[in-house]
Symmetry: C2
Subunit: 133 residues, 2 copies
DNA sequence: CCTTGCCCTGACGTCGGCGTCAAGGTCTAT
DNA sequence: ATAGACCTTGACGCCGACGTCAGGGCAAGG
């Protein structure tokens, strides 16, 4: 399989695949004419990367998972290094969520306060009261 | 007050203040020698920007608040445009928090699953059982 | 031969919020 | 007069994950 097919099957651009390769996430296998050549296992690598990216992982954080897969393990998280990244991410997420909730509450309070100070025309579409015609 | 003093009082760099000015967030008042000149009300502008930034607002989102203050209102959120930004931000925060919670749960589930598949040496510091010496 | 469709490398652009350096002007104190 | 502390503009650098363009090669069909 060449890069275009892998890109389509994985739902990413060829540019993205070349970028992953430049980071060492994808192998550099080439055909005689210089074209990149991939197998089904490489599709699995890209899928693993995408799943983690959807979770908000940076590409560097996907590296342990990718290397785990490439070393023959059945899943990317079959290795201690991947587990460790999971744990770090969980802690990071918890901290972030807490911060965001705090911010949310503060913004909510500010909004309520500001609305209370500005109790003007919530419905500018109200009717005129003058005589009709 | 010149830019260095305002920067120190506001707890930001002079570069930051010039950047704000380039965005039109701060006024462009100059002394005869070309130096920027600020008043206490400008300190309030910067403080307003900083508070909102800590909440995760982008600089463009602080603009309504800044303009509200500059137009003479007692607080930056005394204007409808600011209220509107508050509302948008609240919705954005709620959506983000929901997404993050979902991700957190998924990552947590993946972690649990991976740990279950890899039930090896949780405590590598366990004692050896061979004969001593 | 020519087009079409794939592939290649290299390099600049994007977004936000500045940091940092360069090269110079201004004001104050000694 | 000169040092030192302040100020000015201009411009490049950074981070991440690519998008996009330029300029060219390879392979197959008509």
């Amino acid at each position: 399989m060449r890069i275009g097919e892998l890109a389509e099957r994985a739902g990413v651009s060829t540019r993205t695949l070349r970028y992953y390769e430049s980071l060492g996430l994808l192998p550099e296998q080439r055909a005689a004419n210089g074209y990149r050549v991939y197998g089904d296992d490489d599709l699995r690598l890209v899928e693993q990367i995408r799943v983690l990216q959807d979770f908000g992982f940076g590409l560097e954080e996907t590296r342990p998972f990718v290397e785990c897969l490439r070393s023959g393990h059945p899943t990317g998280d079959s290795c201690p290094a991947s587990i460790s990244v999971y744990r770090d991410k969980l802690a990071e997420l918890d901290a972030l969520i807490d911060r965001l909730r705090s911010v949310r509450d503060q913004v909510g309070a500010q909004l309520a306060e500001a609305e209370a100070r500005l109790p003007e025309a919530p419905e500018p579409l109200c009717q005129m009261e003058g005589p009709r015609e």
